[in-house]
Structures are given as structure tokens and as C-alpha cells.
């Protein structure tokens, strides 16, 4: 099928670019590792608080931390696309018969795969800190992180295609990632929040993902939060990808 052929070509091309400087796969893991080493001990010192039972801090904190990585690790991929727009690479692709969706999918899938590798590495680092995980739940969580990465990458590319310059892209992406991560109970549980923040968090799609992955890590497969998380993020992923595709098709005209 042509779409699979084209996606494979674009995926390989983008992966080659990443592998040219593989060090950056690790550099962008710096933020979550800092949280793990320098922030999680603070949570341990809090004792028992609502939503963060004493002695289980790491089990609650790590799934959220991986969502944080999924958000921030992929949020800034749009910068690489701006470089490709400026050097005319995207225009060159657009005058070939390659599927427009493949141009975007080849990047987004690369970003999601890199993210998965990072999530696995972070989890491995967390195990000596006492992390106990349900393996099946962890594997399902990886799928959820991939969907979050897919979503954030699509948003990033969508704005890159609209702005075409770096100056506007960074503040826009910060404007999205910061409230979205604060309102998902990643750093501190939302159980601590006043009611209005809790209500605000209900319209944040990523808070559902955090709830879902925490249930999965704990092995509570029957929890309805899991289905909610997958449905919400899948729908969002499809919507933002189509929006990004529309931006790509409109880029030139």
C-alpha cells in the first residue's frame, strides 16, 4: 500500500536524522531524571497525604513523571520541522507524489518511538528507588505514552507549519505544556488541590491519562479510569493529527 510505503520512507529518513546525534535522545531525559533524583525525595518526606500514600510515593510519582516526559519530550519537535521548511526540504517533498499524511506520520511515529525508549530507560532507573510495577500494566501504559507523544508532536508540528519561525513557536508550546502538566496531578496529587482546580483538571485531557497510567502501574485493570484515559487521548490524537495535516496542506497556498 502506498501510504505504508511512504510512511516507512519518511520514518526512516527522520530516524536517520535522530541517530546522527543520538546523544540528544538522552539529553531530553534530563528533566525527568532531575525530578526523580532531586524532587521525589521531597515527596517522601511529606509523609502520608491525600492521593499519595506513605511508602508508595514512587509508585504514584513515576507513572506521572513518564506522562511529563511524554508531554515535554515531544512538545518541541516542531523546531526540527521549521528547519526543514526553511531549507526547502518540505516543499521538495510536497512536489513529489508522496502522501501528505506520510510526511507528518513519518515524523510523529519517530517521535513516539524515541519517547518509548526514554520511558523504558526512566522506568529502569526508578526500579532501584523501590518502584514496583505490574508488567502488563506497564506495557499498556507505554501505549498510552506513545499516544500522548503522538498528540503533543502533532500539536508542535501543527504550530510549526503555521508560524514557520522559531520565535513564535517556543512561547506557544510553553503556554500549552505548562498548564496541561500542572493540571494533571503529575508533580503533586490533585487530591491536594482546591475544588476549582480539580474541576479545571477535568477538562484537561492529560489528567485522564495520568489517572489511567497510575491504575495500570498498580495492576487495577478493571478501573474505568483506564478506558477513559485511552479514549480521551486517542480522540485527541486523531483530532490534532488531522489539524496538523491540514496545516501542512495549507502551508504553501
Amino acid at each position: 500500500m502506498k501510504i505504508l510505503h511512504d510512511v516507512r520512507l519518511m520514518f526512516v529518513r527522520n530516524m536517520q536524522h535522530t541517530l546522527r546525534n543520538p546523544i540528544f535522545v538522552f539529553v531530553s531525559m534530563f528533566q525527568p531524571l532531575m525530578y526523580l533524583l532531586l524532587f521525589m525525595p521531597l515527596l517522601n518526606g511529606l509523609g502520608s497525604v491525600p492521593g499519595l500514600p506513605a511508602g508508595k510515593t514512587v509508585d504514584v510519582f513515576i507513572p506521572g513523571l513518564l506522562v511529563l516526559q511524554a508531554l515535554f519530550g515531544t512538545a518541541f519537535v516542531g523546531f526540527s520541522l521549521i528547519d526543514d521548511i526553511r531549507t526547502g526540504v518540505i516543499e521538495r517533498f510536497l512536489v513529489t507524489p508522496v502522501k501528505r499524511s506520510a510526511i507528518l506520520l513519518g515524523r510523529v511515529l519517530r517521535d513516539a518511538l524515541i519517547l518509548l525508549i526514554q520511558c523504558i530507560l526512566i522506568t529502569l532507573v526508578a526500579i532501584p528507588f523501590g518502584l514496583s510495577i505490574n508488567v502488563g500494566g506497564f506495557l499498556l501504559s507505554l501505549l498510552l505514552y506513545a499516544l500522548i507523544g503522538f498528540t503533543m508532536a502533532s500539536i508542535s508540528y501543527g504550530f510549526a507549519l503555521i508560524y514557520k519561525i522559531e520565535d513564535s513557536l517556543a512561547p506557544t508550546l510553553n503556554m500549552i505544556t505548562l498548564p496541561v502538566s500542572l493540571l494533571s496531578g503529575i508533580i503533586l496529587p490533585l487530591a491536594l488541590a482546591p475544588v476549582w482546580i480539580q474541576n479545571l483538571a477535568k477538562v484537561n485531557p492529560f489528567s485522564y491519562a495520568v489517572d489511567a497510567t497510575r491504575s495500570l502501574f498498580a495492576g487495577n485493570f478493571l478501573n474505568v479510569e483506564i478506558v477513559e484515559g485511552f479514549v480521551v487521548i486517542s480522540v485527541l490524537a486523531i483530532i490534532v493529527f488531522l489539524w496538523g495535516l491540514r496545516s501542512l496542506k495549507r502551508m504553501a497556498s
Binding site: R13, Q16, H17, L94, V95, T96, P97, A252, S253
Partner: protein, 328 residues
């Protein structure tokens, strides 16, 4: 395809909305142009910066959607059959669009695959073009290390890799050194000899003159005039000829002889030289020399200068193409 027309446009028009002080303004970049490009020719689209050359080229390559008007490219409808056009047209933009972090070979192989060629054919075509454009010495290095001329060779190879019937070249030699320009001109002529139709935009008169079979001059989004370089220059008037003689007396005699015997214009004598304008100066030259010799008025020196495309541009726009370049 209708007859042997490779490109045919009717009222092709493109407007952009631009943000300016005092609100949004509609800018008409291409004002409804009619164009025909014939099979096998090099068609030059000549005009100053901002005349609408690139916009037209981007419409023909399906990159920009025309605001109105219609066009057929290789017989395919521009509005309906974009995939067929993309598959059969090669396109080289001004920026080129090579992936700078990748090697030339990686660029070329991927480009061939994007046109649907399998890996072994893609590699075969790549090595063909590497040899053809003499890129062996640098093609395994990342493209960011290439010189301007090397990069341009890669760009054109990228546009040609799938052996299209029509090649759109947007200012292929802008910013290149004279040697690289001459090399590229040679390669473009070779492509024509192989039967490829070439649509080339340029802001250089000498390039249009030396390379193109036919030229359309575009200014402010409108085509001013179309024709072969010779035809266009013919519209300006004749060639200028200067005969030099040994003495002022001989020159005076020559002037009166030429005035009486042959159809010349604007003749004048300055010291021992006679200046005049004549149609088809090259063809007339032997006859002129013979008639001078017959009266023992031997010319010591001869100079013939043909009108340039700049004279054409000047005549139809009231401006010189060169002035525009300098302002830029």
C-alpha cells in the same frame, strides 16, 4: 496532450493576502497569464525579482493553488490531476531543498523512492546522476559541506532523478560563480537534447538569451511579450554597425555611399568612424563590405552590436532590468 503543448495556461492568477499597516491588503502576484510551452523547448520566464516568476512556477508544480484561471501540465488538469502532474514533472526550487544533514546519495535515493521507484532502481538512477553531474568526489559527504555549484548540481539531480518529461527550474544559476553557471548551462542543454522540456525562470538576460528557445518577459505579474530571443530583439530595431577608416575623408565618402546605396538608419560620422543601424546586420555585412571595397573605401575595423534583451525590457517597461538588480 493537445498537440505538442506541455504547459498551457489560461488566465492563471494568484493573489495573496498580506498584512500591512492599516489592515489586510490583497496583493495580486500573478495577474492572469496565458502561457504555452511546447514539447522539447527551453522556455525562459524572464523578469526582475518579485515579478511573479516563482509564484507561477509554484502553481505549475501544484505547490500553490491558483486563485483563478486554469492550466494543463503534460495534458493533466492542474486543478484535478495533481498526483499525475507531481509524478511526471521534475521541480527545482530556488532554495533547492536538499536535506543538508544527509549525504547527496541519501538525498537522491530517498527522492527516487518518493517517486515510487524500488530501492535497486533508486540506487541505479542515483549512481547514473552522480556520474553524469560529476559528483563522485563529494556525494558521500553531508550536503551542508558543498560549495554553491556542487549544491546546485545536487538540487538539479534531485529534480531529475525520476526522469520527468518536464523540468521546472526556478533561477537555477542565481548566486553561482561564472564557471558553475557555464557548467549548468551545458547540462541544461544536454537535457533538452534528450527531449526534456524545460521551463526556466531567470532574472539574467544573458541566461535567457543563450539558453532559451522562447522567452516570456514578465513584470508586475503580467507577461509583457513572448517570442524567440531573436524575435524579441528584432522588435527593438536593427543592429548597430561601426566601420573604422584610415581618414575622415574616407569616412565621409563611405557615409554618402552607404546612404545612397543601402537602406540604413541613423547614420552618422564621427572622425574616421561611421555609425549606423541596419536590420539583419550580420546578413548584410558581406554586402556592405563588398560595396565599400568596390569604391576602394576599405574599412580598417568593423564592429557589430546586436540589441540585448535589456533593450527589449527597457522598450516595453521603460525600466532597465539591471537597474532593478542594483536597487535590490
Amino acid at each position: 496532450m493537445v498537440g505538442d503543448l506541455v504547459i498551457e495556461t489560461k488566465g492563471l492568477r494568484k493573489t495573496f493576502i498580506s498584512d500591512e499597516k492599516g489592515g489586510k491588503k490583497e496583493v495580486e502576484a500573478v495577474k492572469g497569464i496565458d502561457l504555452t510551452v511546447r514539447k522539447g523547448e527551453i522556455f525562459g520566464f524572464l523578469g526582475p525579482n518579485g515579478a511573479g516568476k516563482s509564484t507561477t512556477q509554484k502553481m505549475l508544480s501544484t505547490l500553490l493553488r491558483p486563485t483563478s484561471g486554469e492550466a494543463k501540465v503534460l495534458g493533466y488538469d492542474l486543478a484535478e490531476q495533481q498526483q499525475q502532474i507531481r509524478q511526471n514533472v521534475g521541480c527545482v526550487s530556488q532554495t533547492g531543498g536538499a536535506d543538508l544533514a544527509s549525504t547527496g546519495v541519501e538525498n537522491l535515493v530517498l527522492q527516487a523512492q518518493l517517486y515510487g521507484l524500488d530501492t535497486s532502481t533508486a540506487k541505479k538512477y542515483t549512481s547514473e546522476f552522480v556520474k553524469r553531474f560529476q559528483m563522485t568526489s563529494f556525494i558521500m559527504r553531508p550536503a551542508q559541506s558543498y560549495s554553491g555549484g556542487q549544491k546546485r548540481r545536487l538540487d538539479i539531480a534531485l529534480g531529475m532523478i525520476h526522469h520527468p518529461q518536464l523540468l521546472l527550474l526556478d533561477e537555477p544559476t542565481t548566486g553561482l560563480d561564472p564557471q558553475s553557471r557555464a557548467y549548468l548551462w551545458g547540462e541544461i542543454k544536454k537535457l533538452k537534447a534528450e527531449g526534456v522540456t524545460i521551463f526556466l525562470t531567470t532574472q539574467y538576460m544573458d541566461e535567457a538569451d543563450k539558453l532559451c528557445d522562447r522567452i516570456a518577459i514578465i513584470d508586475y505579474g503580467e507577461i509583457i511579450i513572448t517570442g524567440t530571443p531573436a524575435e524579441l530583439k528584432g522588435y527593438v530595431g536593427g543592429d548597430t554597425i561601426v566601420f573604422g577608416f584610415l581618414s575622415e575623408d574616407t569616412a565621409q565618402c563611405a557615409e554618402s555611399l552607404l546612404t545612397k546605396s543601402i537602406q540604413v538608419e541613423r547614420i552618422q560620422t564621427n572622425k574616421s568612424s561611421v555609425y549606423f543601424t541596419i536590420k539583419d546586420g550580420e546578413k548584410m555585412m558581406p554586402e556592405l563590405l563588398r560595396s565599400l571595397d568596390a569604391k576602394n573605401l576599405t574599412a580598417q575595423s568593423v564592429m557589430l552590436s546586436r540589441p540585448s534583451l535589456d533593450d527589449v525590457f527597457l522598450k516595453y517597461t521603460g525600466r532597465s532590468l539591471r537597474e532593478d538588480e542594483e536597487i535590490k
